[in-house]
Amino acid sequence: MPSRAERITDILLAILAGLVFIVLYAPLLISTLFSIVEVKRGQIQWETATLVWYGRLWENQSILDAIRSTLAVGVISVTLAAVLAVILALYVEWEGAIGRRLIELVVYLPFLLPPIVTGLALLVFFSGLGLDRNLLTVTIGHTIFVLAVLYRLVLTRLQTLPKSLVEASADLGASRWQTLRHVLWPHLRSAIATGAILAFTLSFDETLITVFLAGDQMTLPLRLWAMMRVGFTAEINALVTIVLVISIGLTILVGMRLQSDEVREE
């Protein structure tokens, strides 16, 4: 039986954890709430509860465009980053690799630096090259930004692969491509999928780097930003809620996949 003091400690900890959760999530709930009801003179007008603002979003062409851009940037940059991550991880794990530390630094740095620095650096780089800023530059920026996440997950998974499996494959007559396809890929694919979801979540929400690189193009976070400057409307709250639900959903998915990987490895 836990003693009285232990029980009190448990209760206090539970209360504290509850408070932290409320502080963290209450603003999010308020956004969601305000996307459904109206507030007049500090009073919630429950009778005005409606989902009409969500419907309005689908009639707003600029928002639909922003969603399309965000998805396109996310899918393309995650795909590029995944390919790059696999190539880099394979190279770094290869026994003859040189410049391992440099590669890791180059991969991790854009992710670890403040986004404002990464964004500004990319902006200077692109304008130096004379490249117009548009969704292409945004895609390149996002690729560089999310590469670290994919690389880390792929590398970690690759390191759990016994070297003897690769040797066994070669020993049995498989070329490097055949080994990649029949041994490495089945081992890596779930890590790549997890990394891709996580990277997509990051790309989906990414704002600061995007601000520097987007030119006159709009992704969803930029559209939201622009709308907020005009004023806080129920439409904005509806959009925030959608972004939130998608982000949280993807994050939970990643968490579940990482957990099930751990279970499998045990």
Binding site: P162, S164, L165, E167, A168, S169, A170, D171, L172, G173, A174, S175, Q178, H182, V183, P186, H187
Partner: protein
């Protein structure tokens, strides 16, 4: 013909793990590389398999120089120490992997896999995954996978190390009979001398990156040429001696003739004699007699082991192994017996 290593060496940076080594393995031979860990035995296997490149020297197979040939082009297959079964493939897919990457047809692969599974005794397990198999079964899958492509040479890297004693004995006989059945050269790496003696046509004993001795199991067992080999094969009696030049060797146990056909140069040597070759009581003609006191008697089942202290050299211990006998009398601690050493049973071991 066969496999040849010609002054092959391997270094990692400044550290030499294999001194220049020359070795021939004949076609169809069961050759064992025996040595403690760090002796370079696995390095030889990895060099032959093509998993690492030699720092110097040449590896040949048949008439071809295969020194620089990548692993996947060599007509050899390996049974790895950890089996290295592909965890995401069934037993059938594991066994058929070598055929699959050679783009054979599905029916041809299935037929060959079924046939090979029967040979190694895996029929009925083809749909399982490696995680559902016992250690012995994994071992058989690894074997089947290595023989299915009919390689010219099979490399085995301590394949029995992870099995329990009983299973290991079974697998030793099985491997030996399999080798005869498929008439393929086996290059077998182990640190277990009993395993090496039971299975091999010839044994290469290695220590510290060098070959100590190459020979048949009987050569190695009865006529160790170096102190390391004599010591590695269990409980050899080692007695320091000095060859005097006239065909005699002086030891603390007296002076005796050296075995015929050995080097008669004057030098320090070690005499090695197997415990079961030390005879008690009535001696054959020409044997050297040593008067000893029995120090200790241990009954080990089929054999009884005695420790003797020669009267002339109380510091020297002679270990004797006798076939056990319920009614043998007089073998008790403290009894004085006469031990005899026949010149033909003594090996001269060079002192380095």
């Amino acid at each position: 013909m066969g496999l040849s290593l010609d002054a092959v060496s391997k270094s990692y940076g400044a550290q030499q793990v294999l001194a220049p080594t020359t070795l021939q393995v004949a076609d169809g031979e069961f050759m064992t590389i025996l040595g403690p860990s760090g002796s370079g035995k696995t390095t030889i296997l990895r060099l032959v398999g093509g998993f690492t490149r030699p720092t110097s020297g040449r590896i040949g197979f048949g008439d071809a120089d295969i020194t620089g040939m990548p692993a996947h082009q060599r007509p050899f297959n390996t049974v790895f120490q950890d089996y290295a079964l592909f965890p995401h493939m069934t037993v059938a897919a594991n066994i058929g992997y070598g055929l699959m990457v050679r783009r054979q047809t599905k029916p041809a692969i299935a037929a060959k896999v079924g046939q090979t599974a029967e040979i190694v005794g895996l029929g009925g397990l083809l749909d399982r995954f490696p995680s559902q198999l016992s250690g012995g079964q994994k071992q058989r899958v690894a074997l089947a996978r290595a023989i299915v492509c009919e390689p010219k040479l099979i490399l085995l890297d301590e394949p029995l190390a992870a099995l329990d004693a009983e299973l290991r004995r079974q697998m030793q006989f099985f491997l030996k009979s399999l080798q005869r059945q498929i008439a393929t050269t086996f290059l077998f790496v182990t640190h277990d001398q009993e395993e090496a003696i039971t299975m091999s046509d010839r044994i290469v004993v290695m220590s510290a990156g060098r070959i100590e001795q190459v020979g048949t199991p009987k050569d190695i067992y009865y006529a160790p040429r170096t102190q390391f080999v004599a010591g590695f094969f269990g409980d050899n009696n080692l007695i320091p001696g000095h060859v005097t030049g006239n065909g005699m060797v002086t030891t603390a146990l007296g002076t005796m003739p050296i075995p015929a056909e050995t080097d008669r140069r004057e030098r320090d040597v070690m005499l090695a004699i197997r415990p079961e070759k030390v005879l008690l009581g009535a001696a054959g003609s020409g044997s050297h007699q040593v008067s000893c006191r029995i120090d200790d008697v241990t009954f080990i089942g089929a054999i009884t082991q005695l420790r003797l202290r020669p009267a002339a050299a109380p510091d020297q211990v002679l270990t004797v192994k006798l076939t056990s006998d319920r009614t043998r009398l007089g073998l008790e601690s403290g009894t004085v017996v006469s031990a005899s050493l026949a010149p033909g049973d003594i090996a001269l071991v060079e002192v380095s």
